[in-house]
Symmetry: C2
Subunit: 781 residues, 2 copies
C-alpha cells in the first residue's frame, strides 16, 4: 500500500480530460492518460494499489495431477467443510448481530433513562450536557478505533464487498482487525444516536466472518488445517463472502429470503443455483439463532433489550384495504421517492467529495469532523423537541400496549417537557434510538399522533443529518437514515391525502421508506421481500411493488445508484454488466496496440531473464511460448507454440524453491512433484525482492511448462471490446490473452494481454477520446 505523492497528483490533474466535466463521473483519484497504468483506488481514505482476483481455475500440470489424485474421501471432506463453513458463518453472524443489538439497546437505554430523569427533574441543561457528553464519548471511542486501527472499517463496506465479488481485491477489507473495529465501532456509533444504522456494517461483518473462516483465522494466526487448503482459492472465498453478506442482511432485518435476494440483486456479480441454495442455508441458520435469542430475551434476561430489540416493524395487525383510487397516492409516493432518492444521491456525492478534502488533511481532522457531527446531532435531538407543542393524550387510544404519556426507555408517546396527560410528539421521534424512532413513525391506527410541523422538522433534520453523517470515520449504514427520511415524508404525505384515502398513515410511512430506498439504492425484488418480511403483511405486496418500480424508474432517469456512485468515487475498478454501446466499435486489437508490447517467456527460460522481467514489470501473468516446435500436422519449418500463461506468483515460487536446471531441457513429472504440491501453488504471496539468487544460478534454466496454466481464455484480436468484456466478466478472469487473426510464421501467437483495467470504460475513453462523442448515446438495455 503506497500513498501517492501529492505533487505528482497535481501534475496529473492538468492532464485530466477537460470534456469530462460531469461531476458525477469524477473519481477522487487522479489517473494519467495511459491505459491501465495506475490501478489505484481509495481504500478507507487511503489511496492503495488494487489487485484483481482470479476466479479462473489455473489448470497446470500440477493442478491436474492434484485433481486426479484427489480421492473420493477428499471430495466428500471438501463438500462437508463447505457446508460446515456456511453453517458457522450463519451461526457467528447471528450471534454477533444479537450481541450488537444487546449492547446498543443497553447502552442507549441507560443513557436515555438517565436523561429522562434529569428532564423529569426539570434540570434541562444538565440533561443536555449528560446526553451530549455520553454521545461525544461514544463517538470519540468509535472514531479513534476506526481512524487509528482500521480505516477500512469506516463506512458501510457494501461497495467494497460488491467490488470484491466483481473481482476487485481491496486490501485490508476482510481482516480480523477490521472485523473487531467494525463490531465495536458500530456499537459505539449507533448507541451515540448518530443518524446511521447497523445494517450496512452487519453486511460487512458477515463477509469478514466468512472470509476469516475460509482462510482459517486472522492473517498471522492462521490454522493450517489440512482440510482448509481446499478453500485457498478466490473462487471458494467468493462464495463464502456472498453467503456472509446475505447472512448480514438477514441478521439486520430478520429477513432470510430478503438477505439472499439482496446478495443476488445488489452485491453479487456471478451466481449459481448451488450458491443460492447454500446462501439460503446460511440465512436459515441466522434466523434460527435470532429466534433463539429472542426467546431467551423475552424472559427478561437481556437487560433493557426487550421486545423491541431486534428491528421488526410489525404492521401486520393492520387490515389493508384499498381500492382502485388508492393507486393515485401510491404513484405519487413512488414518483416523489424517486426524485428525492436521486437528489439525495446527487447531494451525498458532493458531500463525500468535500469530506474527502477534509479527511486528507490527517487523522485529527477526521476525528474533529466526526465529533462536530455528533455534537450537532445531539444538540438537535435534544433541543428541537422544545419547539413542539404538547399534545393531550387521546384516551380512546389508551390500550395495554401504548401507554400515554410514557416516561420509560421506549414508547410511542414521550412526555418529555410536557405536563401530565400530554406528550411531546417530536421527542417521541428524536429522543430515542433510531430503531424505536422507525417503529414509532410506522405506528398504525394513530392518525392524529403527529403534528405536521413536527414531522416537517423531523424530515428536514434527518435530511441534513443523512447527508452529513454518512462520510464520517465510523461504521455507517445507509439503510436506516434513508428509512427515517422516507418514513417522515411518507407520513406527511399520508396526512395530506388523509381525507381522500383509506390507507393508514403508518402504511404511508412504510411506503415512503420503501420508495426512498428504491429511489436511492435502486433495488426492487430484494427490497420488496425485505419490506414484506419486516412488516409481515402480505397484502401490502402489490402496492409495495408498484411504489418500488416507479421510484426506481424515476431515479434511474437522473443518476446511478448510491452504491455505484460510491464505487466510482473510490475508484474501484468495478466492471459493469452491460458494455457501453461504443465498445462495439472498438476491437481488442486496437486496444492492445496502445499498450506496451507484451512480455513473453520461453518454455524453458533463463533464470536471469525471469528475474529481470519480474523486477522491471508489475504484470501478474506472462505468456509462455516455445519456438521451433514441429506441430503434429507435420510442418517442415518450425512453428511457435503458445503453451499458456504463467502467474507471477508461480514464477516467484519457482525461484524460491530453486527449481533450476543446469541445461535447457524439459523436466519429468516426478522432478516437479518432488519440488511442488498444488497446495503451495495456491499461495499467491511473495515478492521478487525477497528472493536471493546467486550469480551462478542466474545462468541456469527453469522449465516453466509444468507451472504454466495451459488453458487460458483467449480472444481473437478482431473481437469487439464489448464482447471481450462480457467474456471477462462472465467467466471471472484476471488475464485475457489476445491471439492474432493471422496465421503465418513469425507472427507472435499472443498479440497482447487484457486486464480488468484495460476494459473499464473510463480508462478506454482517456486513450480514445473520440469514442466519447458517441458516449451520450443510449446504452442498449
Amino acid at each position: 500500500m503506497e500513498e501517492v505523492e501529492r505533487e505528482q497528483e497535481e501534475e496529473q490533474e492538468a492532464e485530466i480530460d477537460p470534456e469530462n466535466n460531469n461531476p458525477l463521473h469524477q473519481t477522487l483519484i487522479k489517473r494519467n492518460r495511459t491505459l491501465s497504468s495506475n490501478p489505484l483506488a481509495l481504500v478507507g481514505e487511503k489511496v492503495s494499489y488494487i489487485e484483481s482476483l482470479d476466479y479462473e481455475i489455473n489448470e497446470n500440470d500440477l493442478f491436474k495431477h492434484g485433481w486426479r489424485s484427489r480421492s473420493r474421501v477428499e471430495a466428500l471432506q471438501y463438500i462437508f467443510l463447505k457446508w460446515l463453513l456456511a453453517f458457522l458463518v450463519g451461526l457467528l453472524t447471528g450471534i454477533i448481530a444479537t450481541l450488537i443489538n444487546l449492547a446498543v439497546e443497553n447502552i442507549a437505554g441507560y443513557k436515555f433513562l438517565a436523561v429522562l430523569e434529569y428532564i423529569n427533574g426539570e434540570r434541562y441543561l444538565t440533561g443536555f450536557l449528560y446526553f451530549a457528553g455520553v454521545n461525544f464519548a461514544l463517538t470519540l471511542f468509535a472514531a479513534i478505533l476506526c481512524v487509528c486501527f482500521a480505516p477500512t472499517a469506516a463506512g458501510p463496506g457494501i461497495p467494497e464487498i460488491k467490488a470484491y465479488l466483481n473481482g476487485v481485491d481491496t486490501p485490508n477489507m476482510f481482516g480480523a482487525t477490521t472485523l473487531i473495529v467494525k463490531i465495536i465501532g458500530s456499537i459505539g456509533a449507533v448507541s451515540a444516536g448518530l443518524d446511521l444504522g447497523k445494517e450496512g456494517p452487519l453486511v460487512h461483518i458477515g463477509s469478514c466472518i466468512a472470509s476469516l473462516l475460509g482462510q482459517g483465522g486472522p492473517d498471522n494466526y492462521r490454522i493450517k488445517w489440512r482440510w482448509l487448503r481446499y478453500f485457498n482459492n478466490d473462487c471458494d472465498r467468493r462464495d463464502l463472502i456472498t453467503s456472509g453478506a446475505s447472512s448480514g442482511v438477514c441478521a439486520a432485518f430478520r429477513s432470510p429470503v430478503g438477505g439472499v435476494l439482496f446478495a443476488l440483486e445488489e452485491v453479487a456479480t456471478w451466481w449459481r443455483s448451488a450458491l443460492l441454495w447454500r446462501t439460503f442455508f446460511c440465512t436459515a441458520v441466522v434466523v434460527v439463532v435470532l429466534r433463539a435469542f429472542i426467546e431467551i430475551c423475552n424472559s427478561g434476561k437481556c437487560g433493557l433489550f426487550g421486545a423491541g430489540g431486534l428491528i421488526m416493524f410489525d404492521v401486520s395487525n393492520v387490515t389493508v384495504r384499498y381500492h382502485v383510487m388508492d393507486i393515485l397516492p401510491v404513484v405519487v409516493i413512488g414518483i416523489i421517492g424517486g426524485l428525492l432518492g436521486s437528489l439525495y444521491n446527487h447531494l451525498l456525492h458532493k458531500v463525500l467529495r468535500l469530506y474527502n478534502l477534509i479527511n486528507q488533511k490527517g487523522k485529527i481532522h477526521k476525528l474533529l469532523l466526526s465529533l462536530a457531527v455528533v455534537l450537532f446531532t445531539s444538540a438537535c435531538q435534544y433541543g428541537l423537541p422544545f419547539l413542539a407543542k404538547c399534545t393531550p393524550c387521546d384516551s380512546s387510544l389508551r390500550d395495554a400496549e401504548s401507554v400515554c404519556p410514557t416516561n420509560g426507555r421506549s414508547g410511542n408517546f414521550k412526555q418529555f417537557n410536557c405536563p401530565p396527560g400530554h406528550y411531546n410528539d417530536l421527542a417521541t421521534l428524536l429522543l430515542t434510538t433510531n430503531d424505536d424512532a422507525v417503529r414509532n413513525i410506522f405506528s398504525t391506527n394513530t392518525p392524529h399522533e403527529y403534528q405536521p410541523s413536527s414531522l416537517i422538522i423531523f424530515f428536514v433534520l434527518y435530511c441534513i443529518l443523512g447527508l452529513f453523517t454518512f462520510g464520517i470515520a465510523v461504521p455507517t449504514g445507509l439503510f436506516l437514515p434513508i428509512i427515517l427520511m422516507g418514513s417522515a415524508y411518507g407520513r406527511l404525505l399520508g396526512m395530506i391525502m388523509g381525507p381522500h384515502t383509506k390507507i393508514d398513515q403508518g402504511l404511508f410511512a412504510v411506503l415512503g421508506a420503501a420508495s426512498l430506498m428504491a429511489g436511492s439504492m435502486r433495488m426492487t425484488v430484494s427490497l420488496c421481500v425485505i419490506f414484506l418480511e419486516l412488516t409481515s403483511n402480505l397484502l401490502l405486496l402489490p402496492i409495495t411493488m408498484i411504489v418500488l418500480l416507479i421510484a426506481k424508474t424515476v431515479g434511474d432517469c437522473f443518476n446511478p445508484s448510491i452504491y455505484e456512485i460510491i464505487l466510482h468515487l473510490k475508484g474501484l475498478p468495478f466492471m459493469d454488466a452491460n458494455p457501453e454501446s461504443w465498445m462495439r466499435n472498438l476491437t481488442v486489437g486496437e486496444l492492445v496496440d496502445v499498450k506496451p508490447a507484451v512480455i513473453s517467456l520461453q518454455g524453458v527460460e533463463k533464470v536471469a531473464k525471469i528475474v529481470d522481467v519480474l523486477k522491471n514489470t508489475t504484470h501478474n501473468g506472462f505468456p509462455v511460448m516455445d519456438d521451433g516446435v514441429v506441430p503434429p500436422t507435420g510442418q517442415a519449418n518450425g512453428a511457435t507454440e503458445l503453451h499458456g500463461l504463467i502467474l507471477r506468483a508461480h514464477l516467484i515460487q519457482a525461484l524460491k524453491k530453486k527449481f533450476f536446471l543446469k541445461e535447457r531441457r524439459r523436466t519429468e513429472e516426478w522432478e516437479v512433484r518432488e519440488k511442488f504440491t498444488w497446495v503451495e501453488l495456491a499461495e499467491r504471496e511473495g515478492k521478487i525482492e525477497e528472493v536471493a539468487i546467486t550469480r551462478e544460478e542466474m545462468e541456469m534454466f527453469v522449465d516453466l511448462h509444468p507451472l504454466t496454466n495451459t488453458t487460458p481464455f483467449t480472444v481473437l484480436e478482431s473481437i469487439s471490446v464489448a464482447k471481450a468484456m462480457i467474456l471477462f466478466r462472465q467467466v471471472g478472469l484476471r488475464h485475457l490473452l489476445v491471439v492474432p487473426k493471422y496465421q503465418a510464421s513469425g507472427v507472435s501467437p499472443v498479440v497482447g494481454i487484457l486486464t480488468r483495467q484495460d476494459l473499464l470504460a473510463y480508462n478506454i475513453l482517456t486513450v480514445f477520446p473520440h469514442l466519447a462523442k458517441s458516449k451520450s448515446r443510449q446504452k442498449r438495455n
Copy 2:
C-alpha cells in the same frame, strides 16, 4: 421434423454402450457413436431435429452499420416497446389465468352439483354414470385436441422452457396452436378431475404469450410492425419468455415474488439484474389483474367461481407456536419428503418410459391411455368414499364459515351418503376439485376431521394417480399432484405426532406438501417464497426453510430433479451448470480430432462451392478465411487471416438475393447496403433447396466479408473441455471456434468448431468411453 426410421433405431440400439446401464441415465432416443451427429430429441412424443439458439450478437459489417445509424429515438422506441411487451405479457397471462379458473370452477362446479343431486336422491349408479361420463367427455375433448393439433401442448412444458432458456430451440413449442390447445386442454383436463394441475400449463401459457407477442403474432399472420423488428433475435425473445414463465407461476399461485424466483432458480440459465426488474414488473401486473378479477367475482358475477376460485391456501389465521422440541417432527417430515420425492422421481421415470412405448404405437393408443386413466380416476373418486365411515359433525366447530354437513359445491364436510348431521371425510377430499381438496386438507383447527384410514386411502390413491396421470396426452402440471400427495402424508404424520407437538395438523399438511415438492423438484428459495405467499403466514418461514433444505439434501443423494429427468428422457441437449470433473482431463483439441474436418470458406467464394457446402452439410456456421494476406506487422510471405464465422442463414440470404460478383473482388459498403438491411439478416429461415441458381451464376463469386460475424468467440485447442463448456454456457453460444496453439505458415487458423452437442457429457462419453471410469467421482460443485 422427421421421424426416425424404426429399423435404423434398432440397428443403433446394439451399439449402445453396455456399461451405461443406469436406467436413470438412458434417454428414449437412440443415438449412434459419433460425436454430435444426431441432434435429436423427443418433442411432444415425436422425435425431431433440435436446433440450437444463438444468443451471441452477430457483429458483422451490416450489424455495425445498423447499430451506428440507430438514432436516439429508435433506442427509446426499443426500450418503450420492451416495457410495453412486459406489460402485455403480464396482462394477458393474468386474464387467461382468470378465465381458466372461471371455466374450471364453473364446469366442475355444475358437474358436482348434478352428481350431488343424484346422490341425495340415492341414485348412486346414475350419479356415477353421469360423473364418469362427463369426465370421460372432457378428457376425450382435451386429448383429441392435444393428439391431433398440438402434441407439444401435452405435459407441463416446463422442461422445454428450461431447455429453451438454456439455448435449445424445441420446434412448435411456442406457437399459437399450442397456446390455444394448452388453454382449452387444460380447462378440460382439470375440470375432468384428473390428478393434475393448471400450474405447469400456466407457465407454458405465459411463455407462449410472451413468444407470440415478441414475434408479433402467430407464424402465418405476423404483424410486420416496424418496431417489432428489434425483437427478432434470440436474446430478446429469451428475456420475454423468462418474463412469461414468471408470470405463469405468479398467476398459478398468486405469488409475484415466488414467480420471479421460480424463473430464476429453476428455469433460467442466464440472468441479469435488469431482467430481474422487468420480470418483477410483469408479475406485478399479473397480481393487479388477478386482484381486480377477484374484486369483480366477489360481487357474484362469475357463476360458481366464488371466494375459493383462485387457489390460495389461507392458513394465516393460525397462530404458529413452536418451541425447540418441535424441530424433531419438522426434521422427520423433511427426511421423509426427500425419500418419497426421490422415489417418486424414480418411479415416474419408469412409468414415462412405459408410456412412451404405448404412445409410439399411434394416436389411438394415446387416446385410449388417457381415457383409461380418466375412467380409473373417476371410479376411484366416486367409489372409494363409500368405504369411509360417516363421522358425526362436531358442533363446537360449527361457525359461520364451515357448515357441517355441506351439500353445496365446495365445503369442508361433505355429507355424501351419510345421514343428516354426519359427514363423509373421504368424499370431502375426493369428490371435489383438486384446489378444493388441497384447501380442505390444509384446513386448520380441525384436528379430528379426518380419520387416519381415509387419509391413507387418499394418499395411496394419489400416489398411484400421480404416477400414471402425468404422462397422458393432455396438458398436465406436476405441482398439484405433488402437493396433494405431500399434504396427505404430512397430515397423517401430524396425526401420529399429534400428542407430542403443538403444531397444527393443517400446518403439518403444508409442510408435507413443501417437503415433497423439494424432494421431487429440488427447489428451495422459490418454493419457500411460494409457500410463504400461498399461506400468507410469515411465522412459518423458519420451519419451511428447514423442511425444504432437508428434503432437497436427502433427495439429491438419490437422483436428479424431476425436471432434469424429463429433460434427459426427452433427449434435449441441456447444458448443465457444472462440468463433470473428467472434463478437465480432456482438451478441446482431442475433441475436435474425432469430428470430421472443419469446412471453411474463402472471403470471396465461388457460388458453386457455397451451394455445394450448403447442400452436403448440415452445419449452421462456417469459418471464413483469406489466404495470402499481408499482416500489418509486415510479413514477407503471405499469412492466412481468420475473418470470422458466417451463418448458414446468411449464406442462403446472399444466394437468394443474388449478391453475386462477376470477378473475385471485395465489395464496397454501399453495394452491400443496397442489397441487405440488418433487419433481413435477423431472419433465420430459408432452405438451400428453395434457392434456384443458374449455371452461369454458379461460376460467379460472393463477397462474404460484409456478412461475416467478425467477432466470434474462440478457444485455444489446449483448453480443457470443462472450461470451454463454462464459456459456451455463460456467454450463450451456438458455435465456438477452436484455434490452434501453433503459429506457422500453413497451419489452418481454425482447428475445429464446437457446438452444443459436442460439449454434452453423454455424447463425449460415447466417443471416449475410458473417461467414464472416472465418471463415478464426485462432481466438484
